[in-house]
């Protein structure tokens, strides 16, 4: 400090103010640390956190209804379920077109399965209707095909009509719209040239027919890989034309049409003029009278939005009924029981781990180092042994022809024909999991107890405390942090356990994880699995947060 007389900020060696120079050094240091952490952080975020977030999102996602029945969802919006009457003709009409396309793409059964979670019986309704939907308006289809010289029976003329000839203006908006619709329905890409663009004139005069034909064309070209002009169009095209020509202004539209095939279309219109107009509602009720059921329609309407709370409600045994949220029928209520069981069994496992772990941790902390190290191996060996080895060991020991039962029978404590049932029930799960998680309880307890000074206990005794008082008032309070750390760890691990309950738990000893696995791999109800998983994860993260607050994750010790 030779130049204390100089006023102004203190300068570093290179002339910059020391404060700024230090701040820069600190910033560099922080940046370097972050650079070292960044690769791993990005890896974990991409390979672990993001997949989980993505999966949990499935618990609220519900695009299947709007994707499969895009038109029906719109027309159904105005229907009032409280009226007690089934929806009007317009809804059934849009259902016809939606269901036809969905049946062609074989997506209608998926929707049926999805809605069946909410309203039993809807699945078979969709499946049977998907088969029969092409019978609707059969008379009109036949009449159109037979009209004129039968030119409308095959695809070439239809192609001419719908594309409006080679030089006509095309309606690309319609085509792109249908591309998006089909892509959402099937999950595949409907891009690329299909050799067909709907004509602007025809799509203005007969929009419904143009849409039906465009769907057909996209399907033929993209999914089947055929030439559009060579294939016979779907029944929907005929039905759409028949309905549009017979509605108000249909005849006038037809008269004003001058494009290719105008004569053939006029002949077709004449051929169906005598037939009764198609009633979609009656046709659907003919297929299955359940289409008149208000409950089915209400379910479709309730689950039309893109996001739903349905899965979450389902996972707590509720559902969206006529009057809002209500409880599920008795025989379907399983999840609350399962959650409760998972909680109670995890608590019991934690409790037995405390009971068994405390004496062991105490003796490890109080023996001379050499013998403590030796005994520590007995704790660490199970910790290092494969989980499946330990689970199979318990299966071997606990089963009815297993080691424990054999010993008990040999000792005469149990009759040979009355061997104890210790596996495939809650007892088996609790015993096996206590054994598996016990080291996670002992290790934190041990590291806390090691720091407790034995002189406190001696001081308490010399001041006249009995053994029990000295332990309970002096030693135990100091060991509580170890119990806390171990308990949270054991509880977190046990609540999400899957393998052991699956093998030794039978049906009564399984946890919520097993149900999640079942829904992912067997019943394929992924939304419900995601909802159950979200609830489980929320509980675990809450405990994790508590653990971090109480113990600090930096203090986790392994061995």
């Amino acid at each position: 400090m030779s130049d204390t007389t100089q006023s102004g900020p203190v300068l570093a060696a290179d002339g910059t103010p020391l404060k700024r120079s230090l701040a820069r050094a600190l910033r560099m240091q922080k940046l370097r640390a972050l650079m070292l952490i960044a690769p791993l952080l990005i890896f974990i975020l991409l390979a672990f956190i993001f997949p989980i977030a993505d999966m949990l999102f499935r618990s609220v996602e519900n695009r299947i209804v709007a994707d499969t029945l895009p038109e029906t969802v719109v027309t159904l919006k105005d229907w009032d379920p409280m009226s007690g009457e089934s929806p009007d003709e317009a809804v059934y009409e849009s259902l016809y077109y939606d269901l036809f396309v969905a049946a062609e793409a074989k997506e209608h059964t998926k929707l049926g399965t999805r809605l069946n979670y909410e309203h039993t019986g809807i699945s078979s309704l969709f499946r049977s209707s998907g088969r029969k939907v092409d019978d609707i308006g059969k008379a009109d289809v036949k009449a159109i095909q037979r009209s004129g010289d039968g030119e409308l029976k095959n695809g070439a003329l239809w192609y001419e009509i719908m594309s409006g000839g080679s030089s006509a203006a095309g309606d690309t908006d319609l085509l792109d719209g249908e591309r998006t619709k089909l892509a959402q329905l099937t999950g595949e890409k409907f891009s690329g040239d299909i050799g067909f663009v709907p004509g602007a004139e025809i799509s203005k005069l007969f929009p419904r027919t143009a849409i039906a034909y465009t769907d057909f064309a996209l399907f033929t070209a993209v999914v089947d890989g055929d030439i559009v002009a060579e294939e016979k169009p779907w029944e929907t095209v005929y039905v759409a034309f028949a309905t549009e020509v017979s509605t108000d202004g249909g005849a006038a539209n037809l008269a004003s049409y001058t494009g290719p095939g105008a004569d053939a279309l006029k002949a077709a219109a004449a051929a169906i003029a005598d037939l009764p107009p198609i009633s979609f509602k009656e046709a659907f009720l003919d297929i299955d009278k359940d289409w008149g059921n208000v409950g089915n329609w209400r379910t479709i309407q309730t689950y039309s939005p893109e996001y739903t709370t349905g899965y979450f409600l389902n996972s707590v045994d509720l559902h969206l009924g006529a009057d809002g949220v209500e409880a599920r029928p008795e025989n379907q209520q399983i999840y609350i029981t399962l959650f409760k069981r998972t909680m109670i069994m995890s608590l019991m496992i934690t409790g037995s781990c405390i009971l068994l772990g405390y004496p062991v941790a105490w003796i490890l902390a109080n023996l001379p180092t050499r013998s403590a190290n030796l005994l520590m191996i007995l704790v660490l060996l199970p910790f290092w042994t494969s989980l499946l080895v330990r689970t199979s060991a318990w299966k071997v020991m606990l089963q009815q022809q297993g080691v424990i039962n054999d010993v008990l029978v040999w000792l005469g404590l149990v009759a040979d024909d009355a061997r104890l049932v210790m596996i495939n029930n809650q007892f088996g799960t609790i015993v096996a999991m206590t054994h598996i998680l016990l080291p996670f309880m002992i290790l934190p307890m041990y590291s806390v107890m090691q720091t407790i000074n034995p002189t406190y206990l001696r001081a308490a005794k010399s001041l006249g405390a009995t053994n029990w008082t000295a332990f309970w008032r002096v030693y135990f309070p100091q060991s509580v942090p170890g119990i806390g750390a171990g308990s949270i760890l054991v509880f977190i691990l046990s609540i999400g356990y899957y393998i052991t309950p699956e093998i030794v738990g039978g049906t009564k000893g399984v946890f919520i994880s097993n149900r999640i696995a079942y829904h992912i791999s067997s019943s394929l109800n992924w939304g419900l699995a995601a909802a159950l998983g979200s609830i489980l994860l929320a509980v675990v993260l809450l405990l994790y947060w508590a653990y971090d607050k109480i113990v600090g994750i930096d203090n986790v010790k392994l061995g």
């Binding site: 330990r390 999400g496 994860l537 994750i553 010790k557």
Partner: protein, 392 residues
């Protein structure tokens, strides 16, 4: 070293205590033979007499008497029930001899502080017995698996031949099955292909990050740590489901790379925890000294820092290895039949209960765990010595 000067107990006290112990042992033998009460009375009488005789007359010839007891009990056992009973009898005899002299010479007080009341002494040993029982609970399942894996039959339990120590009851057939069955060999090979790659990934990323995390000024340290540890905390079924959906979308589901990435993510917390723990005691002035002498950051890392934290890195790697080697839930979802690992094969075996080959595999795996445990323990001591901490 004796803490307390002791005198021999009276023959009456020894006889009474021994009778109590004998009654308990007799009860077991009695129930096994059909009459618990008989066994109880006979056991108590036998041990009582032995206690009285040993403590009043034969206290000086401890060694020969104890050997004699063992021999006598073994012969009695053999006459009663053949070879297995011989072993049991010898054990009983050893216990009887040891227990009676332990009581008679008051050895049990020798190592305890002199002011303990009899009740406290009793509690002291009672507590040890309880702890012993818990240790037995911890270790028995593993010990039971080992002999059963040499079973000659396809049973998951001890056959009469095995209990008779009949060589015909034992065989290596399950080990042979493991070594020749293509399913098991494929599974072993898959495990050995996946685990080292996953370990390599988690160790290289994890060590870098742990070094970054132990710098003095790290913004959001707690949050970053929480994210990095989360694969250990999130229930495996949730991780598995998330990875399954996401990896199938990007085409990694059912591929080797997918399983390796998933296992690497699961192993990272262990690497972070162990390496961070090693770095806690790391003296940062060493790196500054190295820099001062002209070493670049890379040279400093490899020549100064790395040798010092190497034990932590290796034990972290072993943890990551065993995590991947032992993992079944995630591979069940993310892998396909081509990535069937050893635990997966065991899991299917356990669910469908096919053969005790599982037990042979289990025994081999226990052997591997013992090797790994020993290595980790040695490394931990070495690391503590390197950092100048006394090994605990």
């Amino acid at each position: 070293m004796a803490l307390t000067p002791v005198t021999n107990q009276t023959p009456a006290f020894t006889a009474a205590t021994s009778a109590a112990a004998g009654a308990i042992l007799g009860l077991f033998v009695g129930t096994a033979q059909g009459s618990g009460l008989m066994g109880l009375i006979l056991g108590a009488a036998l041990f009582g007499v032995m206690g009285f005789v040993f403590s009043s007359m034969l206290l000086e010839q401890q060694k020969p008497i104890r050997w004699l007891t063992i021999a006598a009990f073994a012969v009695a056992g053999f006459l009663m029930g053949g070879l297995p009973a011989l072993v049991l009898g010898a054990l009983f005899g050893w216990f009887a001899g040891w227990f009676i002299f332990w009581i008679a010479t008051s050895s049990y007080r020798k190592h305890l502080v002199p002011y303990l009341t009899p009740g406290q002494v009793l509690w002291h040993y009672g507590f040890r017995v309880i702890c012993g029982a818990i240790f037995v609970f911890l270790i028995t399942p593993i010990l039971v698996v080992m002999p059963l894996s040499f079973n000659a039959e396809n049973f998951f339990t001890f056959t009469p031949e095995m209990l008779r120590f009949d060589p015909a009851g034992y065989s290596l057939r399950h080990y042979r099955d493991f070594l020749t069955n293509p399913d098991w060999q494929q599974a072993l090979w898959n495990s050995l292909r996946i685990a080292p790659m996953a370990t390599l990934l988690s160790v290289s990323f994890g060590t870098l990050a742990a070094i970054g995390l132990s710098q003095p000024h790290v913004p959001f340290r707690r949050a970053i740590m929480a994210v990095l540890i989360s694969p250990m905390i999130v229930p495996l079924i949730i991780s598995a489901a998330g990875m399954y959906f996401f990896y199938s979308r990007i085409g990694l589901q059912g591929t080797y790379v997918g399983v390796v990435l998933a296992h690497a993510a699961l192993g990272i917390p262990f690497v972070i925890i162990t390496v961070t723990a090693t770095l806690v005691g790391f003296d940062n002035s060493l790196t500054r000294a190295a820099a001062n002498m002209g070493a670049g950051p890379v040279t400093t890392f490899f020549r100064v820092q790395m040798p010092l934290i190497l034990p932590g890195v290796i034990s972290g790697g072993l943890f990551a290895f065993i995590t991947s080697f032992d993992e079944v839930v995630v591979v069940l979802f993310v892998g396909s039949a081509g990535q069937k690992t050893l635990p997966w094969q065991m899991f299917t075996g356990l669910r469908e209960q096919i053969s005790p080959t599982i037990l042979a595999v289990a025994t081999i795996l226990v052997g591997i765990s013992i090797c790994l445990l020993t290595t980790v323990e040695l490394l931990r001591r070495r690391s503590e010595r390197l950092r100048g901490m006394s090994p605990s």
